[in-house]
């Protein structure tokens, strides 16, 4: 019995010191001087711009990666083709690569004297130090989540129902919409939640490709760093809290789908 109490104390103490107390203190520090300064900070043009830019990048990244993720999972589970094991290995890469390396990679390809940079610039398309580069970086870092969640679900459900539908004369598209998609919905949704969380919070890669221009290419995470370095702690805390609230919604969403999936 005493071992159990000791284990519980150590586990909860560790979590309190590492996560709960620091997060709690940030919330307290944000509202230390009341709601007014928080409201003023949140409604500043640069903060609002950072917020909407973040939302926009997420809204472009998540649908693209979801579409790609479902297609890729279907290919990995249902089809045989040369290079499948290579594809399987490449999919995992983005989670194992440092965000700084991701940023550098896009910097080299789309920068001056880069493989595509000069040509695109000559045709009036700016990728580096602009929103397209930031979207590419965010797509890169959040790429594997939908694939990784959908693959096991597809394996689990098998092909019986799809084959039955085919025998009854359904077209491939009908089979996908009426049979496959409804059975993988939980996996897709959980993948979307993870993708969203990662896209919202990306910092390193975006920091390199954005050029960090206030009110232009600054996302919420970059805004947090900029405010911190300007000694505007209220600004940094407020933007952090907005991000943390979005993160919290994500965690709640995750657990809702996890418990549904467990049953």
């Amino acid at each position: 019995m005493s071992t159990r109490i000791a284990a519980r104390t150590i586990a909860l103490g560790y979590l309190a010191l590492l996560i709960a107390l620091p997060v709690g203190l940030v919330v307290w520090r944000t509202f230390e001087h009341g709601l007014a300064p928080v409201w003023t900070t949140m409604t500043q043009p640069d903060a609002l711009h950072a917020f909407w830019l973040t939302v926009m990048i997420v809204l472009i990244t998540v649908p693209l990666n979801t579409l790609f993720g479902v297609l890729c999972a279907l290919a990995l589970v249902r089809h045989h083709f040369p290079g499948k094991s290579i594809l399987n290995a490449i999919i995992d890469l983005p989670v194992a690569i440092s965000p700084v390396v991701v940023g550098l990679a896009l910097f080299i390809v789309y920068g001056r004297r880069g493989w595509f940079g000069d040509w695109l610039l000559a045709h009036g398309m700016r990728v580096l130090f602009a929103v397209p580069g930031m979207i590419l970086a965010t797509i890169f870092v959040s790429l594997p989540f939908v694939v990784r969640e959908v693959v096991p679900v597809l394996r689990e459900i098998g092909t019986e129902q799809e084959q039955a539908a085919q025998t009854l004369g359904a077209t491939p598209l009908q089979i996908f919409w009426r049979v496959t998609l409804p059975s993988i919905r939980a996996g897709v949704t959980y993948g979307v939640v993870l993708t969203t969380a990662r896209a919202l919070g990306e910092f390193g890669a975006v920091s390199i490709v954005s050029g960090r221009l206030s009110g232009q290419t600054e996302t919420l995470t970059l805004y947090v760093q900029e405010r911190f370095e300007q000694f505007d702690l209220t600004g940094a805390y407020t933007a952090s809290l907005v991000l943390a609230l979005l993160a919290l919604a994500t965690v709640v969403g995750m657990n809702a789908f996890k418990s549904k999936g467990a049953v």
Binding site: A11, I90, P99, L104, T221, N255
Partner: protein
């Protein structure tokens, strides 16, 4: 029928083309560009860059701190998973949700959060800002979920009969844990450790505020790469990135090989 299979084939080819194109554009071409750029000035320059004293110190510190952090994770993570599965107390669900927070919280916010409690303005008088301990703390924060989330499902599925049998045969609690529980959990712990290591070795956002980025002391590899990009040494940044990439790849390959080895031996 023939018509349909022809259109299905076209569909497959189109899907395959889309997947290859997307992956190439987003992942493969940029990574190839890093490798190409790093060797642009020849092997000699490459070697000189990655053996430069400051770069080596940063790589060493990243490697060392990641190893220490995953070792702590292996122990504490397993303990937390144990408490979450086998213990029961009020608020357990809340604690369980807390584990996911480091995955969901943006890394820069994680750094700022730790700095608020353990920085220069700490209300409890603990200041780890600009120290190696501070870097370790940030890495512990962001890698917390890996081992816990890997061990939890295995522990849940673990058959308790073997443990009860061992206990009824007179085995002590620690002997039961060492001989029966730990061997069953080890693969999960190792996979959590591998993923945590891959994350820690390249971590940037949570470390950048808390470390102060002092060369030879608190500068990690990713921050060193960032510094080189800022000072326009893109080729040098690429050279060190290739080392980081190789380390991440090695860990991925090891995890995959281990998983395959295990599934072969189980069946």
């Amino acid at each position: 029928m023939a018509l349909r299979s022809a259109s299905a084939l076209r569909g497959h080819l189109l899907t395959r083309g889309l997947i290859t194109g997307y992956l190439s554009l987003i992942v493969l071409i940029p990574l190839a560009a890093v490798a190409g750029r790093s060797f642009q000035d020849g092997w000699g320059t490459y070697w000189a860059t990655i053996t430069d004293a400051e770069a080596l110190a940063a790589l060493e510190f990243s490697l060392l701190s990641s190893l220490v952090v995953v070792a702590i994770n292996a122990v504490v993570g397993t303990l937390i998973a144990w408490v979450l599965v086998r213990d029961s107390f009020r608020g357990k669900e809340l604690v369980n949700s807390l584990i996911d927070l480091p995955f969901a919280l943006p890394t820069i916010v994680a750094g700022l959060t730790l700095l608020t409690l353990y920085g220069p303005t700490s209300p409890v008088g603990i200041n780890v800002a600009y120290t190696r301990a501070g870097v370790g703390l940030a890495l512990l924060f962001v890698t917390l979920p890996f081992v816990v989330r890997a061990v939890q499902p295995v522990l849940l599925a673990l058959d308790r009969e073997a443990e009860e049998a061992a206990a009824s045969l007179g085995a002590s609690r620690s002997a039961t844990f060492r001989r029966i529980v730990l061997p069953a959990l080890l693969p999960a712990i190792l996979s959590g450790v591998g993923l945590g290591f891959a994350r820690a070795i390249g971590e940037f956002g949570s470390v950048v505020l808390i470390s102060g980025n002092i060369p030879f002391q608190t500068e990690v590899a990713s921050v060193h790469v960032f510094g080189r990009i800022e000072s326009d040494d893109v080729t040098g940044a690429a050279a060190i990135s290739v080392v980081l990439l190789a380390l991440s790849l090695l860990v991925l390959v090891l995890i995959n090989a281990f998983t395959r080895w295990r599934t072969r031996h189980e069946h």
